[in-house]
């Protein structure tokens, strides 16, 4: 069951994990909006340790102003649920 629904404001986790992750550094700590619940896939951070951990994956839209402090474009990223927290 997906914890977030389209339109929800979410924050990408700021912590720097010890191992592999597919949460790009530039998004960490920033707030975006859920656009779509994409699918359920195993968290890569767990998969790389040989553990299958399926969870919802969301497309999240970040504004350039939020990510970089300037710019008018948008960046859309796919985020495993573990990468997100409520705002």
């Amino acid at each position: 069951m997906a914890r977030f629904t389209p339109g929800a404001r979410v924050r990408a986790r700021a912590a720097d994990p010890d191992g592999h992750t597919r949460l790009p550094r530039y998004a960490r700590g920033h707030v975006g909006e859920v656009v779509e619940v994409l699918a359920t896939w195993s968290l890569p951070d767990a998969t790389v340790r040989g553990v299958t951990q399926p969870e919802p994956v969301y497309t999240v839209r970040f504004s350039a102003a939020e990510l970089w402090g300037s710019g008018s474009h948008a960046v859309l990223l796919d985020m495993w649920e573990s990468y997100l927290e409520e705002v």
């Binding site: 790009p24 994956v57 990510l67 474009h73 859309l76 796919d78």
Partner: protein
């Protein structure tokens, strides 16, 4: 495969992995060769172009492409090459321009766009296009109007993106083959209009 990669350290790891898979009986050498040949021999931006042109000329296909691009690819015979990831088509409109990148590595729908260009894998493109896409696109010769919204899609998960460009004006009389020849690899990535 391309000759220049045989000496890089990862090539030895890939060979070891292949040997382990083969010795475990999970796959044979011949099967591996067949899959690689199939993917790389048929991988071409003409495949993506055919999907785009079908979407331009068939409104029902256009809607199916945006709703389920994997199924839309399979309809045109591109199913085998697009297995294993979620394919999404993102549509350019008069007010919105899309461009794709993989900031973490170089994810890319190879079977539909052909082998990726070296700049797509470059650190410069990957780091700059998420930060200053308008400037990067201008360097490709694509000057967008100030009020066009740019959407940068970072393929950081199991999703692969394909841009659906706008049909160029003045092409109403062109047949399917002529239209296919208008669509470029850069148009499918979003670093060109078409």
């Amino acid at each position: 495969m391309s000759g220049g990669h045989a000496e890089v350290p990862v090539a030895a790891r890939v060979r070891q992995l292949e040997e382990r898979l083969i010795s475990a009986g999970l796959i044979t050498d011949a099967e591996l060769d067949e899959i690689l040949t199939q993917v790389y021999d048929s991988a071409s931006p003409v495949n993506g172009a055919r999907m785009v042109v079908r979407a331009w000329t068939d409104p029902a296909y256009h809607d199916r492409l945006l709703a389920d691009a994997n199924a839309a690819a399979a309809e045109l015979g591109f199913g085998p090459g697009t297995r294993g990831y979620l394919l999404k088509a993102v549509e350019n409109t008069p007010g919105v321009h899309n461009v794709i990148v993989c900031t973490l590595c170089s994810c890319y729908p190879t079977s539909l766009l052909g082998p990726s260009p070296s700049w797509y894998k470059s650190f410069a493109y990957r780091s700059r296009v998420v930060r200053e896409p308008r400037e990067v696109l201008a360097e490709f010769g694509l000057e967008l109007p100030e009020d066009t919204e740019i959407r940068v899609w970072d393929a950081n998960s199991e999703t692969r993106y394909l841009v659906l460009p706008q049909r160029p004006p003045g092409t109403d009389d062109k047949d399917e083959e002529a239209l296919v020849s208008l669509v470029t690899r850069n148009g499918l990535i979003g670093t060109a209009t078409c």
